[in-house]
Every structure is written in C-alpha cells, then in structure tokens.
C-alpha cells in the first residue's frame, strides 16, 4: 500500500476521532489525526493530505477558523474538506456562512455519522481529483 490515499481527521473528541480513523482505515485509507485546529493546520502544511475530515466546534481556535485558513491559502484551497459536525447543516449554512461568506464544503456529514455515507463522500471526492 505504498500509494494509499491519506486523510487527516481533525476532531477534538478522541473517541470520535478513533472511530472515524478506524472506519476510514477499514475503507482502505491512510489516516492521521489532529485534535485541535492549530495542530490540524500544522499537519496539513507538513503532510499535504488528500482530504480533510473536519469537526467545527472545538476548544480554542475552532474548526471554522481552520476551514477559513485552508480556503484562503492558495496552495491549500483546492483540498477537499468533509465537515463532520454535530451542527445541523441548515444551521451551519446560516450561522457559519457556508455558501455565503465562505465557499461551502465539498461534503457535510452530520453526527451521529452514517459511516457508509462518509466513505461514499470520501470516495467520490477523491475520485473527482483523480486519486
């Protein structure tokens, strides 16, 4: 598996992080984890993952600030992001500005996670990028 596609999971809740990582690994992906937005950004810059699974509500700088950071960085802007959040997608649109002040994420998976839906979204996005 020298060419496994790499996914970064940014999620402060360890149990959820382990769950997502295990499910994605079972789906054939290589997974790294970061537990806050700051270390998430460091990991993205250092490792350039193929896709990021991102929680929004986190202590300290939120997932939203990391999302904005990625989208506003020319080198990272094209990186597909799957938001995995306990927020309601409609609420997220209005309160976080997705689709208005910020480009919408490529996929939004609401918690509790339908793991097959997550895997399908990841497959679709990576396939679209030719990976």
């Amino acid at each position: 598996m020298v060419d496994a596609r790499r996914i970064l999971v940014v999620e402060d809740e360890e149990d959820i992080s382990r769950y997502l990582a295990a499910a994605l690994e079972d789906g054939g992906y290589e997974v790294e984890a970061a537990f806050d937005a700051v270390s998430g950004l460091k990991a993205i810059e250092a490792q350039r993952p193929d896709l990021v699974c991102l929680d929004i509500v986190m202590p300290g700088p939120t997932g939203l600030s990391l999302y904005r950071e990625i989208r506003e960085n020319a080198e990272l802007a094209g990186m597909p992001i799957v938001v995995v959040s306990g927020l309601n997608p409609a609420d997220a649109e209005s309160s976080l500005g997705f689709g208005e002040t910020l480009p919408a994420p490529e996929a939004f998976i609401e918690k509790p996670v339908d793991i097959q839906e997550l895997i399908n979204a990841v497959r679709r996005l990576l396939a679209a990028r030719g990976k």
Binding site: D12, E13, D15, I16, R18, Y19, L20, A22, A23, D26, D55, V57, M58, P59, G60, G86, L87, N88, D91, E110, K111, P112, V113, I115
Partner: protein
C-alpha cells in the same frame, strides 16, 4: 384745608374713586350716574341705555340682571361680556344691587363691574391643561378621595368623583401598601411609584404615578395632585421582548443540547463499530476499545442528564454552618494530583481563615469544583507550563468570597459575553456548557453572585461573593444528623 376723615372720603369720594366700574341705572335702563373708571372705560354714559353702553346693543339683553333685580330686589353676581369704548371685548364680574328709597321702593339699581379677562384666560388655560394633558390627573383630599379627575381619567376609570383613589384606580377596599399620595400628605414632598390598576372595562393598567402637594401658599396644603402616566403598552412590549428572548434561549438550549447529544451518540456509535468489527474479525483489541468507548460515552450522557436535572430542578439545599477553608482543602485534594500530572499546580491560599458560614456545602462544592475544573482546562488550553491555579477563601466587606484564579488561556470579549449562556462551551465536546450557569444559579440561591475578570493569554479570575447578611439561615435539624 383740613384732611378729610375716611368717613368723609367714603361719603364724598368712594363712588368716584373706587377701583371698580360703577353706574346707577333707572327702571328704563338709563344710566343716570357713572363713576370715573366707568366713563374712562365705556365713554360718557349718562342718559344712555346700559345695554347700549355695555354691549353696543340696541335692545335689552335676553337675560338682564338689572331687570331681574328690579323685579325681585335681590343682589346678583354674574359674569358678563362687555365691549369698551376702544372696541375691546372683555369679561367682567358684575354685581347688581337694588337702591331702595325710604319707603322700600326700587327706582334704581347700582351696577359694579371688574375686568376679569386675564383671570378668565388663566382659568381657561388651566382647565385646558387639566383636561387635555396626556395623563390621568386627579386631585385628592386627605381622606384619599378623588375631588376632581380629568377627562382622560374619567374615560379610563369612570366617573369616580368622591370615591377613594384606591377604589377608583384599583377597585380595592383598602389603601395601597405603598401610597405616594399618603407619603406626600405626610412629608409635603413629591413622590413617584409604579402601580398596577384596573380600568373600568377591567383591563389591567400599568402606570407611573407622581404626587405633589397642591399648595396654597403659606396656608399649607390640604390636597394632593396626582398625575399618572400610562405605561401599559411599554410593559406589554417589555414582556413580549422577554418572552421572545426566552423563546430564543429555549431554541439555543435545544440546539446546544442536540449538539452535545449528537457527539455522545457518535461516540456510542463508534463503540458499536469497534465491537462489531472486533467480533467479525475476532480482534480482541477492537472489542476492548469498543467497550471502553461505550462505557465512556454512557458516563458522559449520565453526567449531561445529571447536570440538566441539577439545573432544571436543583436539589433541596441543606444549609449548615461550614468552614470555608475546608471546602478549599477539598478542592485541592480533588484536583491536585490529576492537574500535577499535566504540569498544572493547584494551590490553596487562605491567609486569614474566614468565619464559618451557613450554606449548602454540596451545592457550593459543585460551584467551586466547576470553577477549578474550568481553571485547570484553561491552563491546559493555554499551553503554558508550569501553570498555576489558585483557590482562595476570605472575608471581604461583609461578604464571604471564594476565588479561583488561573494562569491559563483567558477569555476574549466574545467568550466573556457568552460565559453564562446555557450550553455555551469552549471545550468542544468536552463540556456541557452548563457549569457556569449552574454555578451562578446556586450562588444566587445563596444570596450571592458570580464575578469574573479575564485577559486573553494571561488568565482568568472567578469570584463567588456571598454577602453574609444574605446567606440562608441554617436548617433547624441540620446539626442533628448522625447525632
């Protein structure tokens, strides 16, 4: 020349020099004599008809007081309108009295008038003000009875003249406990208070009433004037705003709760995923991992439910006399070791031991534990090592003060604003967002309050302040347990 005595003056000069317009009129309405004031005002009058001179009319007035006095011999006082020599119309107060001959016959009457135009104008202005002013105006006597009420009052509360103000305003049989009119009668000062009354149609009416003494110069005062401004619409708008805020708070509460539960559900789902995949693949480490996740998330949901119950219902407090320094020691024992492992030092600072105080130890323990837990988390999030948390208790300005200070991440203005909002948490999935809210609720139940200062990057200090005179009294049976 000898100065005349006042008797001489009355006999010879009163008629001419009295500060009144005086004329003598015969039965044919002819003016037979007029004094200087009269002539100055109305021109030469002798031999002319009174209605012609006073009113510029060519026939007798419809309601002629001169004619009536000739008829019945009575003295009359009337208000009349006259037109003077310059054409100016004015109001006059007119006295008409018969002049009897020795045998009792009335051949003449005397008419005396005073210009009251200015008085009349002031009275009209006062009347207009009283009736038209956009508030309820009443005049009360010392029995608190309504002597006068303006039109707006009568329209709202009915015709109430003579009834007690508390009956008129509130349909009560006794005076109000707080009565600004009574206070004004007692001290002669202006008083204001907000009251709730009942209009004649039964509608509840909120009004702000101001009472003032109706002064009559040095003679003191025997009446109070009461002006009430209707604030019902304002109170209704306030109530609607509060209801809307409550509804919004309920919305936020539900959204926050849903978010927290979704995270826990995801954790439980994760546990099941590990169990299933462990069972299918025969991987014991996955089974162990899954079991651990289920256990942890079950505990989380238990904590959430407990916090919710504490917040919504609370428990029956058990108020006993406690030693505050013991609570500080409990906090140190509870948090020191776990915090130390992360490079965080929890320090007790009780320089002057505060006096024992009555409170529910378990509730205050919850408050202080919330603050210390937050402080430790703030240190963790601040990333500074070593990082210290100070737990203090002291007496200050008649209040028992518990203080928790940390050298952690601190709060920016946005977080400070939301600190006491339910389900707001900076701890992501790690917090329920109920801690500070519960802390404030318990503090208020003990007559106290929560204050805090915070600087981003430097730390925060939270204080529980309990004024000793507001702390609850110890329960009667509080000391009997275990006896």
């Amino acid at each position: 020349m000898i100065a005349p005595t006042y008797e001489n003056w009355l006999e010879t000069e009163l008629f001419e020099n009295a500060p009144l317009n005086i004329s003598v009129i015969d039965r044919d309405y002819n003016i037979v004599k007029a004094n200087l004031n009269f002539v100055t005002l109305f021109g030469e009058a002798r031999g002319r008809k009174c209605f012609e001179v006073h009113m510029r009319r060519d026939q007798v007035c419809e309601s002629c007081s001169v004619a009536r006095t000739f008829a019945d011999g009575k003295v009359r006082v009337n208000e009349e309108i006259g037109v003077d020599v310059s054409g100016r119309t004015a109001h006059y107060l007119v006295h008409v009295a018969p002049i009897r001959s020795k045998d009792g016959r009335i051949d003449y009457v005397i008419e005396m008038s005073t210009d009251i135009t200015e008085t009349k104008r002031l009275k009209l202005e006062y009347q207009t003000l009283f009736e038209q002013v956009p508030c309820y105006v009443t005049v009360l006597n010392r029995d608190l009875r309504v002597i006068r009420a303006n039109r707006r009052f009568r329209k709202k509360f009915g015709e109430v003249s003579g009834t007690h103000c508390y009956e008129a305003f509130k349909h009560q049989i006794r005076a109000c406990r707080t009565c600004p009119a009574q206070e004004t009668f007692e001290d002669g000062q202006i008083h204001t208070s907000e009251q709730v009354g009942v209009a004649k149609d039964g509608e509840t009416t909120h009004y702000v009433v101001t009472t003032a003494p109706a002064s009559r110069g040095d003679a003191g005062f025997s009446h109070v004037i009461e002006m009430a401004v209707d604030v019902t619409a304002l109170r209704r708008a306030e109530r609607e705003r509060i209801d809307a805020e409550r509804l919004a708070a309920v919305g936020r509460t539900v959204a926050g709760l849903a978010h927290g539960i979704k995270n826990i559900l995801t954790g439980l789902e994760g546990g099941m995923y590990f169990l299933e995949s462990g069972l299918q693949g025969g991987k014991k480490e996955r089974l162990d991992e899954g079991w651990g996740m289920l256990t942890r998330n079950m505990e989380k949901i238990s904590v959430l439910v407990r916090n919710l119950l504490s917040f919504s219902k609370g428990r029956v407090p058990r108020v006993e006399l406690n030693r505050p320094e013991e609570l500080v020691a409990e906090m140190i024992a509870l948090y020191r070791d776990a915090a130390e492992a992360e490079g965080i030092t929890v320090v007790a600072e009780v320089a002057d031991r505060p006096a024992p105080a009555p409170y529910d130890a378990e509730s205050i323990h919850t408050c202080l534990a919330n603050l210390v837990s937050n402080a430790v988390d703030a240190c963790r999030m601040g990333g500074r090592t070593p990082c210290r948390v100070f737990v203090r208790a002291r007496d200050e300005n008649g209040a028992l003060v518990f203080e928790v200070e940390d050298e952690g991440c601190g709060m920016d203005q946005e977080v400070r604003k939301l600190a006491f909002t339910n389900f707001f948490s900076t701890k992501g999935s790690g917090g329920t967002g109920l801690g500070l809210l519960l802390t404030r609720k318990i503090s208020q139940e003990h007559g106290g309050r929560v204050e805090f200062d915070s600087t981003p990057g430097r730390g925060s200090v939270f204080r529980l302040i309990f004024p000793r005179d507001r702390l609850p009294r110890p329960d009667q049976d509080a000391g009997e347990e275990g006896a």
